[in-house]
Subunit: 292 residues, 2 copies
């Protein structure tokens, strides 16, 4: 049986939602695409660009839809789910694209209720520096990773359908529990963002901030790029993943405490051990990643 | 009077020393270039590439030289200075390219002694990810900043000559005291390196390091790029700038402590304040920098 979506409903036709629709269309696996969203201007642009075929209210959008993508901020997820839960078609599959997964899984428990078996929480690992449908691209997920975090109630069929959709977008699909997902991304994404925000704010708050920024060079540029990210979005991610992030932050603070001691005592060997392990690990990682 | 170097002696013909010679040659302001160094293979490559005209021992290299560039690790600086101090020509000017300046200024006090007035400590702010003369380029310093940190004994004439040499390389020259230099770079360079090394080592030491690195994406890539830097070089920089770096590290640890409290208390407004200030400052900085 070939994979095919008759009608896709995309809630939030921005970078992620728009690219998802475009990629499925490019793969030739989707019939109709309907867009739902708060920003009228962005939705109309999506219509003009052919990313969506029509615009609808939530209740109408899910009529006849066999796949529903919720690419809205986590804060809006519960409201959207509650509005569509009773109107989903039999056999319809719902997925999302949020950066944290335990909170989305919990929201779904409350808001999707009897439709919970059709819900597959997901997280495409693709850049979020740009936003809006104008930045969307059919190739955004090509070769990128997507993590699906099924709940205990998620049906095997729903999981398979979402996996096939992402594979049609060119993505590599992995599975883990929502809790494991949140621990992994606390370490490799959420903590680095927090640290970069902290450094730039630290410098910006100094009396000689202008002088300091004037001498910041390429190392600073790369280190702090993620500090230019969306403040509200990252506030929400940090709060949503508070427990795992606190754990990572405390481990990191312990590491800084040890480095501080080594520095204060002039213990070059201890500093070099940390730097050498880090340098070797970073260079091995970069050698493995095509895009590093 | 036009700026002209009759004979340039470069100690350490690597990325920085080699690029300095090449840039001065391209500007047409240098007669002869002699190279000095520990790595025979690299020196012979410099000769074949025409970066230097000859290779010599320290004592012979400075004979007739009117400009001496010490582009060697800070650890070798004292030894080199002691070998050449008594052999410098009258009116010869000596400069260096080390990443820290108070330590170099102190080494010069001891090792250059009566020649101290001809010494101009300097720091070209140019990428150090590559090394060796093979990576050198006549354009490396084009549009880059160079900070000169004259000692109280440095003569105005020596300072002017070194400023002119860097300007001939296309660099923008600034001046500050060695202490101010070290405070500025502790904040915008040394601390970010320490933080990036700390994060990568932290992750590399976890039981599921392979899994974590497997999900690290572009934000992690940029944040940790400087963690791939040379461990011994950064050990030396951190130790040399220990006092200023400890000050910056402690300010940063205070910032993390406050963010931890906000996170633990679920204080979204406090998180957002820090993230928003950082994001605005980072984006303003990037908009001002052509290369960001």
């Amino acid at each position: 049986m070939t994979f095919r979506i008759n009608k896709l409903a995309v809630f939030g036709v921005g970078l992620i939602g728009g690219s998802f629709a475009m990629a499925l269309r490019q793969a030739g696996v989707v019939g109709e695409v309907v867009g739902v969203g708060r920003g009228r201007e962005n939705l109309e642009l999506a219509l003009r660009l052919g990313v969506v075929d029509s615009i609808a209210e939530p209740e109408d959008a899910v009529r006849g839809a066999d796949l529903v993508m919720l690419a809205v901020p986590v804060g809006q997820m519960g409201g959207v789910m509650a509005r569509i839960a009773a109107r989903l078609e039999a056999g319809a599959v719902v997925t999302d694209a949020g950066s944290t997964k335990q909170d989305v899984a919990e929201i779904a428990q409350t808001s999707l209720q009897s439709s919970l078996d059709c819900f597959v929480p997901g997280h495409p690992i693709a850049g979020a520096e740009l936003s809006g449908v104008a930045a969307a691209s059919a190739d955004l997920f090509q070769g990128k990773q997507v993590v699906l975090t099924p709940c205990t109630q998620t049906s095997a069929d729903a999981l398979l359908r979402v996996r096939q959709a992402w594979q049609a977008c060119g993505a590599q699909v992995a599975e883990m529990s929502p809790a494991e997902h949140d621990r992994v991304f606390a370490a490799v994404s959420h903590l680095p963002h927090l640290l970069a925000f902290a450094l730039v704010d630290d410098i910006a708050g100094k009396a000689n901030a202008g002088q300091l920024f004037g001498y910041a060079a390429s190392g600073f540029r790369d280190f702090t790029r993620i500090a230019g990210s969306h403040p509200e979005m990252w506030r929400d991610i940090c709060l949503a993943n508070r427990v795992a992030l606190l754990g990572e932050l405390d481990a990191y603070r312990g590491q800084l405490e040890r480095l501080r001691t080594a520095l204060e005592q002039g213990d070059g060997a201890a500093l070099e051990r940390v730097f050498a392990r880090a340098s070797a690990a970073r260079n091995a990682w970069a050698a493995n990643k095509k895009n590093a």
